[in-house]
């Protein structure tokens, strides 16, 4: 248990905009929280340390990635006070940082020490001045320029090229002041479970509590057990709590934490729509309203709702909507040009004064609340020599994970469990440099060519069918069918999680013969429409066992009295037989 420190905090205060620099306002203190908490009034010395560090260095825009809210906030405020801005990458993978480095004068290190900055753009201007040397700081009283650039955020563009979105102090203040009037923070503490490198976490988890002079915490509080602990710490000194979180967190909130006693007064969720059942369950577990915010990096917040009351989204005050042709256009004070119309990529339908969301227009998916460009992911896979083509599939599964279909030359296709696993590992490794872990496809399918419909476009139904075994563990993985009239060849794969594998020979899972017969009948009925009732099986032969992960060709032949079938793999023939499927002649 972290010992209580002497952080002085104030129970409540009124809202001040960023340009008035609320973190430099004197306040009275009436409580103490652990070191895990951050408060505007205790940040002063670290802001000054960062200003000293920045002073001899080039001026401009700095790359800032820090998971600890105190480090992040102190460095950000030091940049602002010294007339500079921050570019906030969504992650700190080498590929991300390298791509962004030409746009900044340097990268903010983990601490304001004298370590030289390893950024090519500042080579030659590196300054090894010891941080301990005192540099006269310019007066911290100067206000911040309303139209000046405060932060630049990164987002995934629909073309696959990440785009950068700059926000001025005016834009941030417009949004913060509306949050303040809708949901004042006086007397509260803010516990964040989302990243402050993105707009929602930045506004609600860091800037809003700063502007209200209330304590906030993040990072470790993404663990539900830590979040419960923080809530009890702030309750202990008489504060109530606001929880800033996401559907990924709320849908996995454990029941045993007795959170209903933790004085949580409101809960904010953003990043993706929350399922109604999760919203209801969490309102009960947390004993507080769950308010969802809909928006995007470009627009900031657009609308909000409390789904248990009303599932339509209601726009923020000051936002003007145009919902014709199921397109969402808006004019918003949070945009760089409040008088110009902005078009969102989401399709909508009008509902009273608000709207409902119908899905996206472009090829972006959301996993764990993060926007992922499917195009970029596919392009990256296609860079590999043995990958001919790739197509991501949004599967609408509860876990929100992506599936991907990869087309490869026939002799490169994995035929068994081990090679398949090694192939997936190598593809993951290739993507890993550029992709956040949650964006990594979880379900992989390998085929010779991506299925096309008669118009030459990707056949969505066939693409989705490759993943049908995920929702029915009795089925083989269907990977395509070729044939006509009386002869068909189907490509199947045995899922490692097939229900029938265990219990035959210990430690040696295999597909029982009766299951192979059942699959033959079932697929026969699909390709030959005129089969009758089951009458019997003849000439059954099981030559080789069929193991999990095995890729098979099921050949089906229409016979006068039913079907003939064979199962073959790269190893040879596994099974064959005939099934009589005709109505008996009376």
């Amino acid at each position: 248990m972290t010992p209580f420190s002497t952080h002085a905090i104030r129970a409540g205060s009124d809202y001040l905009g960023l340009t008035q620099r609320p973190w430099r306002q004197p306040v009275q203190s009436n409580g103490a929280l652990t070191d895990a908490w951050c408060h505007a009034q205790t940040l002063g010395p670290s802001i000054d340390a960062w200003r000293t560090w920045l002073e001899p260095r080039p001026k401009g825009r700095w790359l800032l990635f820090a998971t600890d809210p105190a480090t992040f906030t102190a460095a950000l405020l030091a940049l602002w006070e010294s007339g500079q801005s921050a570019l906030l990458p969504g992650d700190d993978r080498p590929a991300t940082l390298e791509r962004l480095s030409p746009l900044v004068v340097g990268r903010i290190p983990a601490a304001p020490t004298a370590t030289p900055i390893a950024t090519p753009t500042v080579a030659g201007t590196q300054d090894n001045t010891a941080a301990t040397s005192r540099v006269a700081l310019s007066s911290p009283d100067a206000g911040l320029p309303l139209e000046g650039e405060a932060v630049v955020l990164c987002t995934s563009g629909s073309t696959g090229q990440p785009s950068l979105v700059a926000k001025s102090f005016r834009q941030l203040d417009e949004e913060l002041s509306r949050h303040a009037s809708l949901w004042p923070l006086t007397g509260r503490a803010v516990i964040s479970q989302v990243s402050h490198q993105h707009i929602y976490g930045l506004l609600t988890g860091i800037l809003s509590p700063l502007c209200h002079n209330v304590p906030f915490c993040g990072n470790d509080s993404r663990y539900p057990e830590v979040m419960a602990q923080r809530a009890s710490e702030s309750s202990h000194i008489g504060l109530t709590n606001r929880l800033v979180t996401s559907p990924a967190q709320l849908s996995r909130l454990p029941q045993h934490l007795a959170l209903e006693h933790q004085r949580i007064t409101d809960v904010f969720s953003s990043g993706a729509p929350l399922a109604l059942t999760d919203a209801m369950r969490c309102e009960q577990l947390l004993n507080a309203p769950v308010i969802e915010i809909y928006g995007s990096t470009e627009t900031g917040g657009i609308a909000y709702r409390q789904q248990s009351r009303h599932d339509a989204w209601r726009p923020f005050p000051g936002i003007e909507l145009d919902l014709d042709d199921s397109t969402l256009r808006l004019r918003s004070p949070f945009l760089p040009h409040p008088d110009q119309w902005w078009e969102q990529a989401d399709r909508v339908e009008r509902d009273g004064e608000g709207f409902r969301l119908l899905g996206r227009r472009d090829r972006l998916a959301k996993v764990g609340g993060k926007r992922i460009s499917l195009t970029a992911l596919e392009q990256r896979l296609c860079e590999l020599q043995h990958v001919d083509d790739a197509r991501c599939v949004d599967l609408d599964l509860r876990d929100g994970r992506l599936g991907v279909v990869v087309a490869m030359a026939g002799d490169a296709l994995p035929q068994e469990h081990e090679p398949r696993r090694r192939l997936i590992a190598s593809l993951r490794e290739h993507l890993g440099a550029a992709l956040e872990p949650s964006a990594m496809p979880r379900y992989w399918r390998f085929v010779e060519a991506l299925p096309l419909n008669p118009q030459g476009k990707h056949d969505q139904a066939a693409l989705r069918r490759f993943f049908d075994d995920l929702t029915d563990d009795r089925q083989p993985r269907w990977l395509g069918a070729q044939g006509q009239d009386s002869q068909w060849h189907l490509t199947l794969e045995v899922p490692e999680r097939l229900r029938y594998l265990e219990g035959h020979f210990e430690g040696f899972p295999l597909v029982p013969g009766v299951v192979l017969v059942q699959w033959a009948i079932q697929h026969g009925r699909e390709v030959f429409s005129d089969l009758g009732r089951f009458r019997g099986v003849d000439r059954l032969k099981f030559q080789k066992v069929v193991r999990p992960g095995q890729r098979l060709t099921l050949s089906l032949q229409r016979r006068a009295d039913g079907i003939g079938f064979t199962y073959d793999s790269a190893q040879g023939r596994h099974a064959s037989g005939r099934v009589r499927l005709e109505a008996r002649d009376e």
Binding site: Y223, E225, L397, R420, P437, S438, R442, W444, L470, E496
Partner: protein, 89 residues
């Protein structure tokens, strides 16, 4: 199979089923290899799912020390030690 091996196998099945790791079999999970990052490649959402599954299956609750949580989820061996120490079923 001794008790410890049985628990390891049970945990492997729990991980595979909970996280829908379709291409992974129990044999593929090395007890000492990292579950997150480079090893099995699990992420922060998976950590939440595993926390829920541990509670449901073994009655194990995690505490508020985040460092502890990270340590317990480091490998299958670490997870096994956690369950052996705290299981209440």
């Amino acid at each position: 199979m001794n008790q410890s091996d049985a628990l390891a196998l049970d945990l492997k099945h729990m991980i595979i089923d909970t996280l829908e790791l379709e291409d992974v079999t129990p044999d593929d999970i090395d007890e000492q290899a990292p579950l997150f990052g480079d090893g099995l490649g699990l992420d922060s959402i998976d950590a939440l799912e595993l926390g829920l599954a541990l509670q449901k299956r073994y009655g194990v609750t995690l505490d508020a020390e985040a460092e502890d949580t990270r340590r317990h989820f480091a490998s299958l061996a670490a997870l096994k030690a956690l369950v052996e120490e705290r299981r209440v079923d």
